[in-house]
Every structure is written in structure tokens, then in C-alpha cells.
């Protein structure tokens, strides 16, 4: 009953959000697009990193791949096909990277994932300049802001649904064990490598699609624009703020932080970066388990069942 009710509420909210473009102005619609984009990115990030403890800074690598795929192919293929190709490229890159690197643990993986974003950016730059002799590309697609918004909203809903579903499957259970103790997990017969790769790939495909869907908003795309590391950092901090191991955590982190960033940049354009840095520090110190975790700690008495479900911290926090 509780699940059914949850679904009903989620569906109502989704429907309300879907009709939002009819009632809000272009500026609010722009906000909603950015917001939905980050909710999706943070949820996708948490799908892998929040559950396995592997902190990834490669978000923008996939995001950028998606945007670039649209830029390259938008004039030669119908749009839905372009999205499919983008997802396929995201899948291939994620598989390749996953197979090669998910054996790395802890801080090594963080550094690697950060390097990956830079590697992809330099590869794209090299390819564009040496092979194609251009750098920037133009996207002229007949897509209005509300079309982009609806696509993102659908993707966000799908991401949350997937997360919810995975939590209830054997895969979700396996993940919890891996997050707690990899050695134990392998001893009880969980295929650790496969589980991590599956999740990493899934999360990467979603990130790629976010980039692909948002790209038509920019008209002009070049590596410095779509591979901006800020995207990776904001995604990470939003997911951590909300609580990376909970279904609604990343969304609850992304919404207030996104609005806060927006307000800060409008009100304190000259001090934005300083305030952002302070905020990052505060979040990591005061809310290591995120808002959701904080509320649970404060207001709920723990039953033994809750303790079992207690999410793993992000590993780096422990090291």
C-alpha cells in the first residue's frame, strides 16, 4: 500500500511538473531545465557512486560526450537516432573505462575519473583540430526550451524509477554488500567486477543523455564549453548534500543547492566562487551523510532493521 501511495504521489508531482511550461515564463523554464538536468545528473551519479562508494569525477566526460555527439550528428541524422547513438557511445566508453579501472579503489579512482574527463576533452580537441580542422560546432535543431525540459523530465523520472527498481533487486542487495565490505562480498559469491561495471555503465548512459538533451540550448559547442569540470563538482556536491545512498537524496540535494547557486550568482556575482567554496566545506563537515541522513539521525529512533539498511558512507570520508 505504501509503495502504491508513493507512486501515486510521484506520478501527480510528475504530471504537475510536466504542465509547468504552460504556466511559467521563459526564465523560470530555463531554471527548471537546469534544475531537472542536475537532479538527473546527481541521481545518476548516486546510482553508481552513492551505492558503491566509488567517488567519480567523470560526470562531465559523459555529459560532454553526449553534447558533442549531438553537435556532430544533428545535421545528418534524425534527432531520436542521434540520442540513441549518443547513448551507445556513452555505453561503449563506460564499458571500456569500467573494465580497465574499476579495480582501482579509493582515492586512485577519484583521480583517475578526474583525469578521464580531461583525457576525453583533449582527445576530442585533438580529433577535431587534427582530423577535421575545426573546433567549434553549431547545433541548429528546431527544439524549444519546453521540448528540452520535457525530455529531461522524462529522463529524470526514468532515472529515479531505475534506482528504485535496482534497490529491490538482487543487484541492489549485492551493491550494499560491496559498499560495506568488498572482501566479504566476493567470498559470498558476488561478482564484484560485473556488478560495478553494470552500474557504472547505466549511470554513464544517463549522464550522456543529459548532455545530449541539453546541448541544443547552446547553439555553439566546443570542448572547453561542454567539458567544464564544474559540472562534475556540482553534481557531486549536490548528491552528497542530499544523501547519495537514498533514492530521493540526490534530488533533494540538487533542488535547494541549484536554487541557492542561482540566487548567489544573481545577488553576489563578485563573491560567488568564495561562497561556493565555503558551502562545499560546510556540507562535507556538517552533513557527511547528507540532508536525508541528517534528518534520519536527528528525528528517527533507529530500529534494528534501519541499522541494517544504514547506507555506507562514501569511502573517501573514512580514509
Amino acid at each position: 500500500m505504501k509503495t502504491a501511495l508513493g507512486f501515486l504521489v510521484a506520478l501527480t508531482v510528475l504530471t504537475a511538473l510536466a504542465f509547468a511550461p504552460l504556466f511559467v515564463g521563459p526564465y523560470q523554464l530555463g531554471l527548471l531545465i537546469g534544475l531537472t538536468g542536475y537532479v538527473t545528473l546527481a541521481s545518476a551519479w548516486a546510482l553508481f557512486s552513492g551505492r558503491t562508494g566509488y567517488v567519480s569525477l567523470a560526470t562531465v566526460a559523459f555529459f560532454g560526450i553526449g553534447a558533442y555527439t549531438v553537435a556532430v550528428l544533428s545535421e545528418t541524422m534524425p534527432y531520436p537516432l542521434v540520442l540513441l547513438v549518443a547513448a551507445a557511445i556513452g555505453l561503449c566508453v563506460a564499458l571500456l573505462v569500467g573494465l580497465a579501472t574499476l579495480r582501482l579503489a579509493g582515492v586512485y579512482f577519484v583521480i583517475f575519473s578526474f583525469g578521464l574527463a580531461e583525457l576525453v576533452r583533449q582527445l576530442v580537441t585533438w580529433f577535431e583540430t587534427s582530423v577535421n580542422g575545426t573546433l567549434g560546432r553549431y547545433i541548429f535543431l528546431p527544439l524549444e526550451a519546453e521540448h528540452i525540459y520535457w525530455q529531461l523530465l522524462a529522463l529524470a523520472a526514468l532515472t529515479l524509477l531505475l534506482t528504485w527498481w535496482i534497490q529491490r533487486t538482487r543487484l541492489g542487495l549485492a551493491l550494499k554488500v560491496i559498499a560495506d565490505d568488498e572482501t566479504v562480498a566476493s567470498h559470498i559469491g558476488i561478482n564484484i567486477a560485473w556488478t560495478k561495471i553494470a552500474l557504472f555503465t547505466l549511470s554513464a548512459i544517463i549522464m550522456t543523455l543529459v548532455g545530449a538533451i541539453q546541448a541544443p540550448r547552446w547553439t555553439y559547442v566546443e570542448p572547453a564549453i561542454v567539458f567544464s569540470p564544474t559540472v562534475s563538482f556540482l553534481t557531486l556536491i549536490m548528491a552528497l548534500f542530499g544523501g547519495a545512498s537514498r533514492l530521493w537524496g540526490p534530488a533533494l540535494g540538487a533542488i535547494p543547492l541549484f536554487l541557492l547557486f542561482e540566487w548567489l550568482s544573481a545577488s553576489f556575482p563578485n563573491h560567488y566562487s568564495i561562497l561556493l567554496g565555503l558551502l562545499f566545506i560546510i556540507i562535507v563537515f556538517l552533513l557527511p551523510r547528507g540532508v536525508v541522513g541528517f534528518i534520519e539521525d536527528k528525528f528517527q529512533r533507529k530500529s534494528p532493521a534501519d541499522l541494517v539498511e544504514k547506507p555506507a558512507r562514501v569511502k573517501e570520508a573514512d580514509q
Partner: protein, 409 residues
């Protein structure tokens, strides 16, 4: 101080509007207005801040001060309204510049929006300027696709030319010197692997070929390169008398130093962005003599010299010798168009397309929404970065070639 009060208002307005996403549209401004709202989003922080801080922002601030000191923007009926500025920092992020311009157009409902800095950012916001009917006087955007953009966005104006213009002008200078027997017909080219470098080198290859100049060395380097020793050695060994670098400021400065260390003395030395900064001439002193680059100015143009003096007086630093004067002139055009046609954006756009304007850069009439009378090549001569091409334009100086050898410092 209007900026501050505006921000205070916006803080509350913005916050409440954001929280209540479906807030009613902000009440339209009253008929009897007390100011003209001008908004802009530029990169005050991040990777683009350097370019913004030299070519764009000082000129915006200078113009607003000049206009407000004179009592405000003059309207067709002779009355004047002061400018109220709304300024955002896009933090060098494309998503942010798009959202800021959207905010200026729909939330702040400004009367006019000044463009951001950079080719990519100007293109990113062009569809928005078009959708909301704002004229876009894009200055810091070098693009060969301007004619195409004008067709797509009829209120967009492209004022700094395209890669082909600069590459063709350079090729002509080299070709002339080569046929005079001053230099041989070989050139070594390097370019930064970024929008600017790629655009120019792509245009330069065919331009050199058409001008009868053989490209014997052609290498692209990643932005941020600091060591050019091997590049300089290879270029020196290539047998070319001309060395061309389509570079960004840090590399332009590094190349100048390292060429001296390696005692590399090409007869023509052409470097990219940064050469036209006043500080370049100041730092390199006698060794800047003869170095060429994009841009240049006519030191005999009194309006331009007056502008330069005022810029230095108000902002505390001299403007660069390429895009700055065009930035300021574009604002003078806007000011004059408002004086002639009022605050109606369609009328102002029409005036910008068809009118003739007296500006700091001389008399300007746009052709197909583009500024075609530009200085394309400049050279440091006697501590001044003079314009040497196009050679047939009034005020052009004859280039001095070959460049003299480095002097010990």
C-alpha cells in the same frame, strides 16, 4: 550606486520568484520611466576573465560613466535618461551565460543587452537575443560565418571580422615582402588548438597558397603550452624567413621570450592575441619593434586618441590596440541609434543596420550587419602598435621589414 540597489531589490524579488516558481509576471514598468535599463553578463571569473577584463568590461564601464556624466542617454525628443546597469558574472560557463541573458530579457526586462565576450558565448546567446528581439552588437567574436548568422538572426551584428580577413591580410603582407625580395617565400606556422587558432590557421593555409607563400612548417599546440624550445628550433631549421603563431596571450608572451633566448631571428615575426596589449610593448621595449599581429590602430585618428586618453584616465589602464576601440564604438553606435530612434528595439536595430555613425574608430556604416572597415594587421613601430593592413585604407602605415635582430637587454 544604482547597481547595488538593483541587486538588493533583485535579491528579494529573485528569491521569492524562484521559490514560487509559478510567480506572476513582474509588473510592467510604469510609463514615465526614470532610467534606461542596460544589462550584460560577462565572465568576471573563470577562464575568460582575462579577455573580458581587457577588451570588454572596462569599455562597458567607461561608456556608462561617459553617458551618465553627460546626463544620460539622449532620446529623440531631447530628454535624457540615466543608464541603470544590471550586471551578471557568467563565470565562463556557457550554461550560465545562457541563463543570465534569459534572466535579463525576461526577469529584469532590461531595455538593451550588451553582448558577452568570446565567439562561443556570443553564439550561445544569439538565439536568445533573437527570440526576445534584442539587437546583439557582437564585438569579441571572430567568425567567418557572420553572413550566415545575419540571415539567421537579423538583429545580430558582427564587428570584428573573420579568420579569413586576418589571414588574407597577413598573406598579402608576406607576398608583397617576398616579391620585393625582402624575405623568401616560405612561412612556418604554429597555432593554438582552440577556437581562435584553428579558425585562423584553417583560413591561413589556402590564403598563403593563393599568395604564393609555401607553408613549410605547420604545427598545432595545446592551449597552456609553456615550453616552445623544440617548436622554435624546428621552425628555425625549416628555412622559412617568416614565423607566424596564432597564439593566446600566455603563449604570445612565452614565445617572445623564448625566441630571444634561442636567438631565433625570423625576418617576419607575427604573434597572436596579446601582442596588441599595451603591456606587451612596454615589457618588451625595443625588442617589440617590428613584431606583427592582428589589429593595430591609426595613431593619427584624433577621436581614437581621445578615447584612449579617456580610457586610461577613467579605468587606470590603456585599452588594447585591437578590439577595445571597436567595443567602445559599438556602444557609441547604440547610443546614437537610441538618440535617433528612441528605445524601440526594432527601430534601433533598423538604425544600426542602415545608419552611419561617428565613433572612436572613425565613421562606421555596417554592411550586411558586419563591420568591414577594420585594421587587420598591426606592427610595433617606435613603441606604437600601428596598423599596416589593409594597405589601401587611409591611415595605414608601411610595414618595416625585415624585423631587426633581438637586442641584448
Amino acid at each position: 550606486m544604482t547597481t547595488i540597489t538593483r541587486r538588493h531589490a533583485l535579491r528579494y524579488l529573485g528569491a521569492s520568484a524562484i521559490l514560487l516558481a509559478a510567480a506572476a509576471p513582474i509588473a510592467a514598468t510604469a510609463d514615465d520611466r526614470t532610467s534606461v535599463k542596460i544589462g550584460y553578463a560577462v565572465s568576471k571569473t573563470g577562464g575568460n576573465a582575462g579577455g573580458v577584463g581587457i577588451t570588454t568590461l572596462p569599455n562597458y564601464e567607461l561608456w556608462v560613466k561617459d553617458v551618465n556624466d553627460a546626463g544620460g542617454l539622449e532620446l529623440p525628443d531631447g530628454t535624457r535618461l540615466p543608464i541603470e546597469v544590471i550586471e551578471y558574472d557568467d563565470r565562463s560557463s556557457a550554461e550560465e551565460v545562457v541563463r543570465s541573458v534569459e534572466r535579463l530579457a525576461t526577469q529584469d526586462e532590461v531595455d538593451f543587452i550588451l553582448p558577452p565576450w568570446g565567439t562561443g558565448f556570443n553564439l550561445a546567446v544569439a538565439p536568445l537575443f533573437d527570440r526576445y528581439g534584442y539587437p546583439q552588437l557582437a564585438v569579441s567574436a571572430v567568425t567567418d560565418k557572420a553572413p550566415e548568422f545575419v540571415k539567421r538572426w537579423d538583429k545580430s551584428y558582427w564587428l570584428l571580422g573573420g579568420g579569413h580577413d586576418y589571414a588574407d591580410a597577413l598573406a598579402k603582407v608576406l607576398s608583397k615582402a617576398s616579391s620585393d625580395g625582402t624575405i623568401n617565400s616560405k612561412v612556418a606556422m604554429i597555432s593554438v588548438a582552440d577556437g581562435f587558432g584553428i579558425d585562423l590557421v584553417t583560413a591561413a593555409r589556402p590564403a598563403m597558397e593563393n599568395a604564393g607563400i609555401e607553408v613549410v612548417y605547420d604545427v598545432t599546440y595545446p592551449a597552456g603550452t609553456t615550453d616552445f624550445t623544440s617548436v622554435i628550433n624546428e621552425a628555425a631549421a625549416s628555412g622559412a624567413d617568416s614565423f607566424v603563431a596564432f597564439s593566446y596571450p600566455p603563449e604570445t608572451f612565452a614565445l617572445t621570450q623564448q625566441a630571444q633566448v634561442a636567438n631565433f631571428n625570423p625576418k617576419v615575426l607575427y604573434l597572436g592575441v596579446g601582442t596588441a596589449f599595451p603591456v606587451y610593448g612596454k615589457n618588451n621595449g625595443a625588442n617589440a619593434e617590428g613584431i606583427m599581429s592582428l589589429g593595430g590602430i591609426d595613431y593619427n585618428n584624433p577621436e581614437n586618441m581621445a578615447y584612449r586618453a579617456r580610457h586610461e584616465e577613467v579605468t587606470g589602464k590603456a585599452p588594447d590596440l585591437w578590439g577595445s576601440v571597436i567595443t567602445y564604438s559599438s556602444l557609441q553606435m547604440l547610443q546614437e541609434a537610441i538618440k535617433r530612434r528612441g528605445l524601440d528595439r526594432d527601430a534601433v536595430s533598423d538604425e544600426l543596420s542602415n545608419g552611419t555613425f561617428q565613433t572612436a574608430a572613425g565613421e562606421i556604416t555596417l554592411e550586411d550587419n558586419q563591420l568591414r572597415t577594420l585594421w587587420l594587421t598591426g606592427q610595433w613601430q617606435d613603441g606604437k602598435f600601428v596598423a599596416v593592413a589593409p594597405t589601401d585604407r587611409d591611415g595605414a602605415t608601411v610595414p618595416i621589414l625585415p624585423k631587426s635582430a633581438w637586442q641584448a637587454q
